[in-house]
Subunit: 295 residues, 2 copies
């Protein structure tokens, strides 16, 4: 099966179970659930849950646990985008070509929808699962919580906010991205392994390294596309990062330098995969597809 078809199938599956999860909530505020649903199924490439599901399959994880892990990671991702887009943060009215959550609803509902999606992630991971050990699920909670919090994604966001006023060098910019986006992409991979069989755990570090390089390369590629792609293809305002005076890899390394960086990180990701004795062809293709994309 070609990667595009596999990604499409996976997107359908993920959209399906995310929609089912929200539809089954029976929570008191239907408005809040609408906003959660809106943000969750707004689209996107579903790279994170795809990673979780693919790695979980390679690691022989119980399918139900793998799906809940993938959904949990996407809940964290979706909540972070809602809060990112808020007027007090990046103040972005477009997300994936659609009105941002706070535009489609209102700011208060958007804040709460983000908050509730974060709680939902941990609810999903901690639901009793007959085919898994509690220690395994607890480790998944721990990894996701660390990746999402001040040592991970939120910490990266805070660094990013602090950085708008001053010029970062490459290692500082890397630190921002390793926390802001890298931590959650790594957690997506880690959770796939942690959901899996005992013997797969020895490759946790290799899957993690793959995801780390992939995440960083993805970010460099994002910076490249921010200057080379159109607003329409991007689904967000073209050049918005440059306009906001944010440090980018293109600014630091030039367009060619940034492209070389993507290639170097891509190679490192492939080397990490080569250490894993499973059929990681889909993950190789995923890296290739993400790092040669034009939108």
């Amino acid at each position: 099966m070609k990667l595009t078809a596999l990604l499409n199938d996976c997107q359908q599956e993920i959209n399906g179970f995310l929609t089912d999860i929200i539809a089954a909530r029976q929570a008191p505020s239907s408005q809040l659930n609408k906003a959660m649903h809106y943000a969750l199924v707004l689209g996107g490439k579903r790279v994170r849950p795809f990673l979780t599901l693919q790695i979980a399959t390679l690691c022989d994880a119980p399918p139900a646990l793998a799906r809940r892990a993938a959904a949990a990671v996407e809940c964290i991702h979706a909540y972070s985008l809602i809060h990112d887009d808020l007027p007090a943060m990046d103040d972005d009215v477009l997300r994936r070509g659609q009105p941002s959550c706070h535009v489609a609803f209102d700011e208060a509902t958007a804040i709460l929808a983000g908050d509730a999606l974060q709680a939902l992630a941990f609810e999903l991971l901690s639901q009793p699962e007959p085919q898994a050990r509690a220690a395994q699920q607890l480790a998944m909670v721990q990894y996701l919580a660390v990746a999402a919090g001040d040592k991970g994604m939120c910490g990266g966001q805070a660094l990013d906010l602090e950085a708008t006023a001053r010029q970062l060098n490459q290692s500082q910019l890397e630190q921002v991205h390793q926390h802001k986006t890298g931590a959650l992409i790594r957690a997506a991979a880690q959770l796939g392994v942690l959901a899996g069989a005992d013997e797969a755990q020895r490759y946790l570090g290799d899957f993690d390294a793959y995801a780390g390089y992939l995440g960083l390369a993805f970010q460099v590629q994002d910076d490249i596309l921010d200057v080379t792609s159109s607003t329409e293809a991007l689904g967000k305002t073209q050049g918005s990062d440059l306009n906001a005076n944010k440090a980018t890899y293109v600014q630091l390394l030039g367009l060619d330098g940034a492209r070389s960086e993507v290639k170097a990180l891509h190679q490192k990701a492939l080397h990490a995969l080569a250490r894993i004795p499973y059929n990681t062809l889909v993950l190789e293709k995923l890296a290739e597809s993400l790092l040669t994309r034009d939108h």
Copy 2:
């Protein structure tokens, strides 16, 4: 020991371990950690972690797990207050007599500090604990996640926002409070039991009922104090709920009716305690102290 002394000791202990937790973070953004610390140790009566610790002791929980559970509950509480006070939500510049987090820092940092405190709660609950079973910790994660999310606190906040425009009846107002504040107070009690010994689990429902009645009574008392107490004693703007045109128990039941309601709920809380064969004197005194407070 008198309750006041016990509460004071407990406040000191809780402030101590909350401060230690933040000090040990080694997270990339010191500004974010300052905001988390500011919001966590701003003061407050620490009713929720007190409940967790007292009930955990009665249920023979490992002290380290009880402390982490108490801290986790307080992290969720602190994050909810930060987000509540935001301009897009209740727009409150004072919290416990001090500048709200977004006033002391800025809005973006306050949003992130709230987000990171929620993640920290789940990180604390999922840290490997030699004296506990993973299934026990996983249940704690599950209860707290449900209490914090769209079926609990966030759902209640959303209901509360929707309610500002229209007149609620008593059962609708109860629904708001049972979600907005009740869910987390109940979770504080539930986590204390869940952290405890197997034989204590049969009283989960009774401790839960006690906390549910206590939480609701506390809220009715809050509405009473909102009209009878001064801004100085309250640490927030006096009459702020009435001014915001929010439904309150005083508005629905009158001052005397609201006072009778507090007494009735207080009795129900005591009846729930009477079903528990442990020494629950401190919990009785806590109810008395909270429901006869004048600020």
